[in-house]
Point group: C2
Chain length 456, copies 2
């Protein structure tokens, strides 16, 4: 809780950009996770790096928690003010500062969203591939090391951040990385900040890799007799080194949901949604090989999305799976899971997970970036008992992923939810190293406390 | 200097695996840099992680420097024992522990060399692409965030380490990352250790990404009327998004040197050496597009290396450029430079650098991973005066790269040589953060002290 003196001090410093109203605080105390809201004591709408610097320095001096906030689309409770404090809303820092088309780089402020960026890039024949579904801010995506549907070809935020600026306690601006494509200059601080979930500093500028818009894009849906067959087809595609741009699984439940929501009339069976990028010849060749591999697993009915509009519809169906599924059960919330395993273990991991889900009888759907070995089961729950059931299933799913050499979090991060799993996955020495780094860079523990690991 | 008691204690613990002989110490006090040797006080041939753990714990307790040692091919003085101490030779830890062909991953001990690994993988239709030229150990390559000729397509050690184990002070084994292709589980400690040059811990195990051997490989040399034209051709290839596997520049001086050494009879003009990976159709298409782009810049005489043997000869010429150049001037040493700039600034950076080199009249040659914006000028020097000249040229080259938004080190690391440049590139706050991390993880400062930054 802020003291009265602290509140007045903040108001004096930041004027009308600071909000203490219940509605604004409430709106900044929630995300897309299943946690009850935890509003901050105050919200600052930052407009410049200098203001971020002032806020970080103030919080460090006053020992007040500071929580960076973007689009609020986290699924793991990242932005909840569990220890109160000041929420730093960065959405007004939304300038695209510099597009270097010749170098395939762009420099943005952290509040720029991926859709905003791609709208701006389109005319230049470029795009930024990382697509977690939600129209998240790039600062938030860097903070959680986000990835999504295109990662199988283009990598995650880890591979696509060249350079960043961040404000760290006690109040200094760090510059990490360079616009050069590679560098061996010192510790990789940019990679340390990417995925640190706001617990070390506030990102104020990002320089990202861009890619030329592919000459040819083709997308298709393919149906399979079972999820296992769809997953197996994906595995063979990856193992044969085909540079597929997207390879997404959606199960029959998810297809039913998007059909109901958007009248898409898709056949209600497990599907892979595929996208191919390349030259016309290259795409044709990839398509032929993938068709053959899919057919071997019983894949049928390649439905081609030939036009950009048809392609948009296809991916909209994928992206709307989450929302559409929630609409199928009035009053429900979705408990979303996120594990990633080596590709050879994917079929086993999905199979066993779904057998357990079926046995429990809880409504669920599956979507997955299966080309990376990453998948999500969403459980649609309406009360505390079901939540407990879903949690138990989620827990067994994580345990299974860890047994299969995988990770407890493919792309959603640790946040509040997965701290015990992180300890299990990484082990005590790695956790101790993370805590030591945290203590060295944020000695008063004010940066998004309680996330990744509990305050020590 | 070790005390007599410490020497005896080490001998008791490690028996004949510890060497105090002058010749062994001498051999472990040098690398490929131009620094005079700085031998350690003792050398331990480690054979197990348990021994590494014992050595790190001992050095931490006794406040004795510990220097990890692999193939000794560093170009920046990384393995020199500038503060004395114990050299930990890891070359006997050279087991390939596990090849997971279905997942395209391999787990190795740090002393495995890249040639050893690729020899082992070939039968399985797989390869590990990172190729810095020297037959370095994979532990050393991870430590310096190495890259080389294939990085333009396959990335650097940063992108290709999935998981590692490392021993850190006071004496604990850290596990970072997982075999899953991606993960958002906590701070990216693997990326922090990759490129930390042994100053945080000793890598004892690496899990690396593998790639299927391409169905088709084609390689060619192309001649250009000038270096500027060759660089410009490379820039247009990269900007057009062609997934070229190698795009290497060698200048006429380097060609002359390899011709003299190996009687290759290559035309003595600036050249790009190119390699294409893909399907037969895909390779043909890439080749056609690159030929057209090269021709626009005056590129002539595509000499195709059609057979694997011809290809080996071509790349051997590239890899032997350094040694061949040294042979052209009896008694010389080579002062090698290494900068990386955004691709659009590459022509300018190379042009101005070579104009200065010509003006100085010092013998030099140029090789470059120009597809990444990375190039090296090697100065062949015989005495202190020339070394000073070369240092001044190297300094101006780094200053130029930094002015052009680039990095002072593309792939060789910081070591002893580039500490002032690192400060200039990253700035005081980033350096302070690196030092804080170092102090948090290595509180007694025993891990490879004096590298990356001076002991604080």
């Amino acid at each position: 809780m802020l003291t009265e003196a602290q509140r007045q001090d903040l108001q004096q410093r930041f004027g009308e950009r600071l909000s203490l109203s219940a509605s604004v605080r409430e709106a900044h105390g929630r995300d897309e996770s299943f946690y009850p809201p935890a509003p901050p004591d105050a919200v600052l709408m930052a407009e410049t790096e200098a203001e971020v610097l002032a806020a970080v320095a103030w919080c460090h001096r006053e020992r007040v928690p500071l929580i960076p906030f973007g689009a609020g689309t986290s699924l793991e409770g990242h932005v909840l003010a569990v220890h109160g404090g000041l929420c730093l809303d960065l959405t007004r820092m939304d300038a695209i500062l510099r597009i270097d088309a010749a170098d395939l780089t762009v420099t943005v402020q952290p509040g720029v969203t991926r859709e905003q960026l791609n709208a701006q890039l389109r005319d230049q024949g470029l795009f930024f591939p990382i697509d977690p579904g939600a129209n998240a801010t790039l600062g938030g995506m860097a903070g959680t090391r986000a990835s999504g549907t295109n990662a199988v070809r283009y990598g995650t935020m880890r591979e696509n951040v060249l350079m960043l600026r961040a404000v760290l306690p006690p109040g200094q601006v760090l510059r990490c990385g360079s616009r050069a494509r590679k560098s061996s200059a010192g510790y990789d601080l940019a990679r340390l900040l990417v995925g640190s979930e706001g617990t070390l500093g506030v990102i104020t500028e990002l320089t990202l890799k861009l890619h030329p818009l592919p000459e040819q894009v083709a997308a298709a849906s393919v149906q399979f007799p079972s999820i296992a067959a769809a997953v197996q087809a994906c595995i063979t595609v990856i193992q044969s080194g085909i540079p597929i741009a997207r390879c997404e699984l959606i199960d029959a439940n998810a297809v039913r949901a998007v059909n109901a929501a958007d009248h898409l009339g898709l056949p209600e069976s497990p599907m892979l949604l595929l996208e191919f990028h390349g030259s016309p010849l290259g795409v044709r060749e990839q398509v032929e090989r993938v068709q053959a591999l899919a057919a071997e697993q019983g894949g049928t009915r390649f439905d081609w999305a030939a036009t950009p509009e048809a392609r948009s519809r296809l991916w909209q169906a994928r992206h709307r799976a989450y929302w559409s599924a929630i609409q199928t059960r009035p009053g429900c919330r979705c408990l979303t899971t996120d594990v990633c395993v080596p590709i050879s273990r994917l079929a086993e991991c999905v199979d066993q997970t779904l057998a357990e889900a079926e046995a429990e009888g809880l409504p669920y759907f599956v979507v997955g970036h299966v080309g990376d070995g990453n998948f999500h089961v969403g459980f649609l729950i309406v009360d505390a008992a079901e939540r407990e059931q879903a949690q138990a299933l989620s827990d067994r799913m994580v345990q299974r992923a860890l047994r299969l050499d995988g990770s407890c979090s493919g792309e959603h991060g640790i946040g509040l939810h997965k701290q015990a799993y992180l300890l299990q996955e990484a082990g005590e020495p790695a956790l101790a190293a993370m805590r030591a780094i945290k203590a060295a860079l944020d000695p008063h523990g004010v940066m998004n406390p309680g996330k990744v690991f509990a305050a020590s």
